[in-house]
Subunit: 250 residues, 2 copies
């Protein structure tokens, strides 16, 4: 990881930092007042305004206005992004062929620039819905613990819905939080909030986090706070390249 931040770089400093980012395969993020042109399947123009520009090592170029999840202009990967000084201003040009397209941003004023040499080998893994898991648990509470009895499914509290409110063989209340993905510290947080609600009136209340798996760190956090973990590996993750699926929304 390498990171460099520049505040209000002049055009020359801007271009130098941008070229360094492109040379090193780093991500470049720019906060600036700029105008943007598109030329390709059509022609388009975005007048001056303050926005964020992101250039990635694969040639991806994104122009993000202050609102909206879609970039107002962009270039997919496959091409290249270059920087130059023109008429005393910095210019970022993203272009590719097949189809021949170009998005060009003229930086009237650059407020901030960040060069980020990032390494990310992770892939998004999607699993089914938690509903299936709830159904399975509701029908087979013993998979969580011998003698456990479900009292209520999705009980509302001021912190949100508790997945299952149950009682164990000794009649001790058990708050059960179910996650379809590998348990994380955020899930631990959530369970702890729910349990704290009941501890106000009953010190014995137990908290149980149910998930396909959990890291040692999460298991320790639970243990250290008197909470329990139950692994239901049969609901393990199945990577589905879901990114594609979910992104049809764009």
């Amino acid at each position: 990881m390498v990171l460099e931040q520049l505040e209000s770089p002049d055009p020359d400093a801007f271009v130098e930092a941008a070229k360094t980012a492109f040379r090193n395969g780093a991500m470049l993020t720019v906060e600036a007042e700029c105008e943007v042109e598109y030329e390709g399947r059509t022609s388009g123009y975005l007048g001056p305004g303050e926005r964020i520009l992101v250039a990635k090592p694969d040639g991806t170029f994104l122009v993000h206005q202050p609102t909206g999840h879609k970039p107002v202009n962009w270039m997919p990967g496959g091409g290249s992004v270059s920087a130059r000084v023109s008429e005393g201003e910095a210019v970022l040009l993203a272009r590719r062929s097949n189809p021949t397209e170009r998005v060009e941003a003229r930086i009237h004023e650059c407020y901030g620039l960040t060069r980020f040499d990032a390494t990310d080998g992770a892939t998004y893994e999607e699993s089914g819905t938690e509903a299936e898991m709830h159904e399975y648990i509701a029908e087979n509470p013993d998979v969580l613990e011998e003698g456990l009895r479900i009292v209520e499914h999705e009980r509302e509290t001021k912190y949100g819905f508790i997945d299952f409110y149950a009682v164990d063989g000794d009649g001790t209340p058990v708050v059960v939080e179910v996650k379809r993905i590998q348990a994380t510290l955020n899930h631990f947080d959530q369970l702890q909030r729910y349990v704290s609600l009941y501890e106000e009136t009953n010190d014995d209340v137990r908290g149980m986090l149910v998930a396909p798996s959990a890291s040692e760190r999460v298991k320790r956090a639970l243990r250290d706070n008197g909470l329990e973990f139950v692994g239901l590996s049969e609901f393990g993750l199945d990577a589905k390249g879901s990114t594609e699926a979910k992104l049809t929304d764009f």
Copy 2:
């Protein structure tokens, strides 16, 4: 415009800066090593990696890995983004209802954070293709100048294709660059490069930028460099909310 950059903020400084950004309606950009969870229509998990996070004042939240033009995870506007410290780490949570969805990023290490209070009133304006304009000019060269004769359409040069290579009434060569959008300094740059090619062999060569309109600044740059502007207002921009159209690609 307000901009604040933090390098390697600790969890408390991170959360404070993030809350300031949310309170002021600023854009927040974060370079970090983090893990991301999605819960909603499905459940999803993105393991630890170095990536960029962008939060916008309308509740938009984007997670961008080092490659690809699509965010690996995101939340559209309409909801809210919040920051907190949990188990000694900073956490960004983006959530909305209808449908109930949440994207939560746990920051294992933050390398950089930028708070950008941006103002952008511009809308992307798209016009038709340049082809229509080329056709019109090829058939009516007089609209550019009385007695102008087109010698060649799209003549290749080492700098790319010249839209029209023509000669005027006195037989002087004229390099014509056609733009479908309001002329910009980038277009002036391009025309100047083309003209410089011919000046090597002929000092008299003329350069003509043809566009629906041009700012005073662009007209001055052309004038100061012995180049000409011809406005074809009949090809003026017609805003088409093209952003929607173009973004069906996402």
